[in-house]
């Protein structure tokens, strides 16, 4: 443990940052927080105090509780979205690399078309169709990240498909699915781990932007982006909710980005120093 820390200080710090926020989100109901929905009209827009560590918002709700529950909304949306994109996009990328030929060409062309949209625009288009909810935001993010995962995994998968052990497996008559699941997938694990972490970091910002624009979670759901847009209206009276909610988004996104970055160094020493 200490040896690991000494060798990977940055990675340890990143893991600690991410785990801390994940644990807070998962165990939010058991942390002795105030009710994130309870409105105390006599205590609106208060600054930090012992009663409300991060102050209260425009409806007198506890900002700390709303941030921790906001983590839940954000993480639930983003983890759902990124897992979906990883499974669908990853499969597409692996199958394209494995089968090549017309399948590869057609499917990757379709991915190119989705990839051509600026991320926020495609997400907004999807939500325009589905209507603004957390789940449409999750689906929108999943659709946006599917071609990215497909592209990211196709390249390394192509290299592995050319390797001797895959050819060997083919020669002894292993089935296609066996080769893809037993030989291809585990060898892509480090790429998947690094990219998932980096894309989660980006997805958190997209989710926050969408809910900030009113296209994601709807009131009174505790949501970091929503807190920012509500806090903006009362900024001159009380900047605290907006300041803390934004900082929470930064901390969450920063944690996953640093984790991906540090993982890349640790898992692939050849890339050390390169970005």
């Amino acid at each position: 443990m200490t040896a690991f820390y000494a060798r990977n200080k940055l990675l340890s710090f990143a893991i600690a940052l991410v785990v801390l926020q994940l644990v807070a989100a998962i165990f939010a109901p058991f942390l002795g927080l105030q009710d994130p929905f309870a409105q105390v009209m006599v205590a609106r827009m208060q600054g930090p105090s012992t009663a409300n560590l991060l102050g209260t918002d425009q409806l007198g709700r506890d900002v700390l509780a709303r941030i921790i529950y906001g983590y839940r909304t954000s993480l639930l949306t983003c983890l759902t979205a990124v897992s979906l994109a990883l499974v669908v996009g990853g499969l597409i990328g692996m199958l394209a690399a494995y089968y090549r030929g017309w399948f590869d060409r057609i499917v990757m062309r379709l991915m190119d078309i989705l990839f051509a949209f600026p991320i926020m625009l495609l997400a907004i288009a999807v939500i325009a169709v589905l209507g603004p909810t957390s789940w449409s935001a999750a689906l929108a993010i999943a659709i946006v990240y599917t071609p990215i995962f497909a592209r990211l995994l196709r390249g390394p998968a192509l290299v592995i498909c050319e390797s001797e052990y895959v050819n060997g497996a083919k020669a002894i008559g292993a089935s296609n699915w066996r080769i893809i699941l037993i030989h291809l997938l585990p060898n892509l694990a480090s790429v998947i781990l690094v990219q998932t972490s980096l894309l989660l970091s980006a997805a958190i910002l997209v989710e926050a932007s969408l809910s900030f624009l009113g296209l994601g979670a709807q009131p009174p759901t505790p949501s970091l982006g929503l807190m920012l847009s509500e806090g903006r209206n009362f900024l001159l009276l009380s900047p605290w909710p907006a300041v803390f909610a934004g900082f929470a988004i930064l901390l969450l996104s920063f944690g996953f980005n640093l984790l991906g970055d540090a993982l890349r160094d640790t898992l692939d020493p050849r890339l050390r120093g390169a970005s």
């Binding site: 940055l10 991320i119 926020m120 910002l205 900047p239 934004g246 390169a274 970005s275």
Partner: protein, 316 residues
């Protein structure tokens, strides 16, 4: 650049542009429930006659291929139909809102890309473990700071420090150049920071790569100054990956601009598309998304060509 390379890239461009037009066209047809009834909305009674009238106005009573043909033929000539609520041509509404977005995006690219070269070069000259970690943390922080939060906090801080500072809204440059630039400062900083963080880190690592090459050692042995080494010799080679990244970053900026416009009350395409979504003005939503995406695709096509001009190996 070989003719074959150019033709190949042109074909790719045509396929992608056709693809995005199909996606955007189909969008309105994927809306759950009857899009036409939704568009008529709560303001009027939904009678079969009204639905039929709007359907024929939108051309929805024709076969789907003909609908697509009409729509794309119109779009190519700049005719995106009329806005459902105002009755004004959609193209006019887009034209009225395009300048603030264009100015915001271009200024942010200039600032982000322009500053990243000296910043990256400076970061490359800082070596050692401490500098390494600082560069890394700084770059990641710059990349993950939510631009809308940065915008909101900077509005708050400036309004406390300089109560007279005009941070919100937009005035055309032709009307009031100083007022225009004053209102652009904060949005441009908020929008360009992630790009600056990303690009300067890229410049730094490309520069360190280049500085390790033999020709740099030769130049050093011949007595070239450090400044000359960095800007004349190393930078040239570092620029190649940099140019592609600037093209990609343009897409993030277009997306980010939508959010930043909202924060700073800038009447650009972002506000237009968000307003159109809440009004369920689908022809306007479609047209705005099509125009912005096509612009981004074409910019990247040009960047690809530029890349091939700078590095002739690419087009072989």
């Amino acid at each position: 650049m070989s003719q074959r390379f150019l033709l190949g890239r042109l074909l790719d461009l045509a396929v992608v542009l056709f693809g995005i037009s199909v996606v955007v066209f189909l969008m309105i047809r994927l809306i759950p429930g009857d899009a036409v009834a939704i568009m008529l909305g709560a303001n009027t009674d939904i009678t079969p006659e009204r639905v039929a009238a709007l359907e024929s106005r939108l051309g929805l009573d024709q076969p789907i291929l003909i609908q697509y043909g009409n729509w794309i033929w119109g779009a190519l000539r700049g005719d995106f139909g009329t806005s459902v609520w105002t009755g004004r041509p959609v193209a006019q509404e887009i034209a009225a809102n395009i300048w603030p977005t264009l100015e915001l995006t271009l200024l942010s690219i200039l600032v982000g890309a322009g500053l990243s070269i000296p910043l990256g070069a400076f970061m490359a000259s800082a070596r050692g473990k401490g500098a390494e970690v600082a560069v890394r943390i700084g770059a990641i922080a710059g990349l993950t700071i939510p631009s809308f939060w940065l915008g909101i906090v900077s509005i708050f801080v400036l309004s406390k420090l300089f109560p007279g500072f005009q941070a919100l809204g937009y005035v055309p440059f032709t009307e009031d150049p100083l007022g225009n630039l004053q209102r652009m400062i904060l949005p441009v900083i908020a929008l360009s920071l992630p790009m600056l963080a990303n690009l300067s880190r890229l410049v730094r690592s490309a520069m360190l790569d280049a500085l390790g090459q033999d020709y740099i050692r030769t130049a050093k042995a011949k007595g070239a100054s450090k400044r000359r080494l960095i800007y004349k010799h190393a930078l040239r080679n570092a620029l190649i990956p940099y140019i592609t990244s600037v093209g990609v970053a343009a897409g993030y900026l277009l997306g980010g601009a939508i959010v930043v416009e909202q924060v700073f009350a800038i009447p650009g395409l972002g506000r237009l598309v968000l307003g159109a979504i809440s009004e369920r003005n689908y022809p306007l939503v479609q047209a705005t998304i099509l125009v912005m995406t096509a612009a981004f695709v074409i910019v990247n096509f040009l960047v690809d060509l530029l890349y091939a001009v700078i590095d002739p190996r690419v087009s072989k």
